[in-house]
């Protein structure tokens, strides 16, 4: 028997369809969800921000949002290529003679987005939260130079009042360091050192960073955050300074660079700052393309414990045998060949530092090191993490070393985390790594190669080098500092050569011509307040 005859079935379907069509609402068409493109800057954040909690996040996507809805005591002067500091939440700051005690005068009349006034106590609260062991912040070490901060972070001191930061009154902050640090104010541009509203965090717990709950004080505020989909910032009309010029910032979360490029070409995205590396050669010729040196280096490290690279002469020979120009030509993305340790665009950069490319001298050095008969030279390995560009570079170096020095090189790639483990425990003879600056000061790079540094995987150490670096951090006289770094670099990349810098990084942008004043700078700090869209 048949309950639904054909006619009845069609009848039922049609009636239901009509009822549904009348009764159902269409989802808002999500093309920038009703944000007028004339008032909206649309860009690709590249991923979901792992956390908007500025005491906890460690990645650049989260930082990008945080830098636009929050502010620190100091900020880079983006108009200055060397990125000097300008006032932000702090109006001015002074240090005692040896740069170990700092006093910050804070701005008056700054309001959080819930209307409460900003005070020095909020800065103390932010630092306390950053350093509390229970917060488990990865960036806690950023403030280790503050007196007792490390002990507090380790749980050895329970009383935060013993830590060297005090709110003298609502507008004055006093910081005592455990050692002189001439660049200390630079650390305060970093999101981990931002003030925070502990009352807001306490009310909402882990979800305090969701729209409607979060309280900030920057030029923008968080309007929408649809996880794994998009984020929207809206102009903060209560911002203390000049208001943001564009009302909304719409951030997509598109991981695949070529997909984002397609959407850019379709006019759905206004600005791209991650481009598919294979396409850069083609895009370079376009008018909407811009490039900017960034404070990052790509380098090869030597495992100085394993022969043959326990001999500085061999290391020097290899570094000298690598023609960096060939590599940057191969990459074709505007990277700058680098033989010094401090990258281009940073104070302390010296183009001529380092071994340079000198094939005949390299051969001679290798002969002198006891490898006149190249057959005696052991087979060496270059290690890198699996990635197309790293592969191309390693293959190029392999060919160069074979041609120039007549030595055999094997390549070994590993998945990223596995590779990191190898680098920490048993690095290959030559291993690839990179380094990006957290703040525009050479200490960022120089500190990395100190004997005790967790990030020095070469197993090399030099007392004189360590002394120079420590001395330089205490020195406020810029000229004297430059001299010390110059000496230290000479030890690092000319005498002992535990590392061979390859190139200094650049960043690439595609900017639609309706967007004006998009900030390009060597730290890649994208403060969007002054961006205009037409």
């Amino acid at each position: 028997m048949q309950v639904f005859s054909k006619k009845r079935l069609i009848g039922v379907v049609l009636t239901t369809a009509m009822a549904l069509a009348v009764g159902c609402t269409k989802k808002k068409s999500n093309d920038n969800a009703g944000y007028d493109p004339k008032e909206t800057l649309r860009l690709n954040l590249t991923t979901e921000p792992p956390s908007l909690d500025w005491s906890k996040s460690t990645d650049t996507t989260s930082a990008f949002i945080q830098y636009n809805f929050m502010e620190g005591l100091t900020e880079y002067n983006l108009d200055d290529p060397e990125l000097s500091l300008r006032s932000a939440l702090a109006m001015e700051w002074t240090a005692n003679k040896d740069a170990s005690e700092w006093t910050f005068k804070l701005r008056e009349g700054v309001k959080w987005t819930d209307g409460k006034p900003f005070t020095a106590q909020h800065v103390v609260d932010g630092w306390k939260r950053l350093l509390e062991p229970a917060t488990a912040s990865e960036y806690a070490y950023f403030l280790y130079s503050v007196d007792n901060a490390k002990a507090f972070n380790e749980g050895k001191i329970k009383d935060f009042s013993q830590v060297g930061v005090k709110a003298i009154d609502d507008q004055t902050l006093k910081v005592t360091l455990n050692q002189p640090k001439s660049y200390f104010p630079y650390l305060l541009t970093h999101h981990s050192t931002y003030p925070i509203r502990l009352d807001v965090v306490a009310t909402h717990g882990d979800t305090w960073t969701e729209p409607g709950k979060i309280v900030t004080l920057g030029a923008y505020k968080l309007k929408e955050w649809e996880h794994d989909n998009h984020i929207v910032l809206e102009r903060n009309d209560d911002y203390y300074g000049e208001k943001a010029k564009t009302k909304y910032v719409y951030g997509y979360m598109i991981i695949e660079n070529s997909t984002a490029l397609n959407l850019y070409e379709k006019g759905k995205i206004d600005v791209l700052y991650t481009l598919p590396s294979r396409e850069i050669g083609r895009l370079k010729a376009r008018e909407d393309y811009s490039t900017m040196p960034s404070l990052g280096i790509y380098y090869y490290g030597f495992n100085t414990e394993k022969p043959p690279f326990n001999d500085p002469m061999v290391r020097k020979a290899v570094s000298m045998a690598i023609d960096r120009d060939q590599i940057t030509t191969l990459l074709n993305g505007g990277e700058v060949p680098l033989t010094s340790w401090v990258p281009k665009g940073m104070f302390g950069y010296e183009q001529a530092r380092g071994t340079g490319f000198d094939p005949s001298k390299a051969q001679k050095l290798l002969d002198e090191a006891g490898f006149k008969d190249r057959k005696k030279f052991p087979k060496i390995t270059i290690g890198f993490n699996t990635n197309e560009d790293h592969q191309r570079i390693a293959e190029n170096v392999q060919a160069q070393l074979k041609k120039t020095l007549g030595i055999q090189v094997e390549l070994a790639n590993e998945e990223w985390k596995t590779y990191l483990k190898s680098v920490q425990t048993n690095p290959a003879n030559i291993f690839r790594l990179g380094w990006m600056a957290d703040f525009p000061d050479p200490d960022n790079f120089m500190n990395l190669m100190m004997t005790e540094s967790e990030n020095n995987h070469t197993r090399w150490g030099n007392k004189e080098y360590d002394r120079l670096i420590l001395e330089a951090t205490k020195t406020t006289d810029k000229k004297k500092r430059a001299e010390m770094y110059s000496q230290a670099q000479s030890i690092l990349v000319e005498k002992d050569v535990p590392v061979a810098p390859i190139y200094s990084m650049v960043s690439h942008y595609l900017i639609n011509d309706r967007v004006k004043q998009f900030p390009l700078n060597s730290m890649g700090k994208k403060l969007l307040k002054d961006v205009v869209v037409e």
Partner: protein, 359 residues
Amino acid sequence: MKEKLSYLLGPALLICLLFTVGLSFFNYVIPTALWFADLFLAGAVFVYYTVSQNNVVYVAKRLAEAAVVIFVIASATFLLLRVLPGGPFDQEKALPAEVKANIDKKYHLDKPLAYQYYRYISGVAVGDLGESYKYIGRNISDIVSETLPTSIQLGVFSLILAFLIGIPAGVISASKHNTLFDSVTMAFAISGVALPSFLVAPVLILIFAFWLGWLEPALWEGPTYYILPVVVLGTRPAAVIARLTRASVLEVIRSDYIRTARAKGLSERVILFKHVLKNSLIPVLTYSGPLAAGVITGTFIIEQIFAVPGMGKHLVNSVTNRDYPLILGTTLVFSMALVLANLVVDLLYSYFDPRIKLS
């Protein structure tokens, strides 16, 4: 009465599901009543079918087995992850020991493995999958519930497309065995199986989004956005289904009872779609279980190329990040989908071929 019920439930469920999918495709908000109707009818069909076929014991047994399987998968994944070199907080900028100690303490990574395992399993037992290491402060269940629906949507559209194309193509090819139609269809099917989606996708994007401008190159915001990823994801299953159907139809079409049907004077159409098809679908059904589980839990490459905000990227990237809780969470979701899909397939076997007895 019992007969009447069986004739009512099936079509009603189909109609409801059809509407749900249709509304979802055209970007309408699906009324809660419809969701309830879907759930209720699916439950009713399942229970009715289980009871009327005397399969209650079988289903109960299978569900108990499923629980064991899930437990074993959860345990094995947990242990295998700890063997993988590299930890969740290893990064280019190594962390100072003090900072690392605080993090380990927060996530109980400083405790013995047995304790961590106990904590994890007892969490899973009550549905608490823990907190992501990478997406600080976000619960795994939140991440799954925010991304899985999109993956299901994409997966279901693609499955429907695959069946709608694959089955008729297979049946017609078989009935027109060794004709031009047959050769052309099978040539398409073979290329559909052979061509990788990361090649097909950019070509289709170029043609339909850039040259013709009919569709959108990426994102997941409405019908014009859905078509390309659905087609790319559906192509391979459609091709496989077409080939399976064709082979199986060719076998059935030569059997005695079909000859009898022909002798009775039934029209070729009735023979094909009523007698042949139903009996030919067993291999397709077998393939559909793992297929369904695979596509509805998210496919990394398609989601990546078309920027679809689904769960596929978490399935893969969580491993790269060594985000243990997220890896375990997504693996569990996938295994549950797989186990469930296979159970449904097994139940459907005896519907399509009553000779198959479940025990």
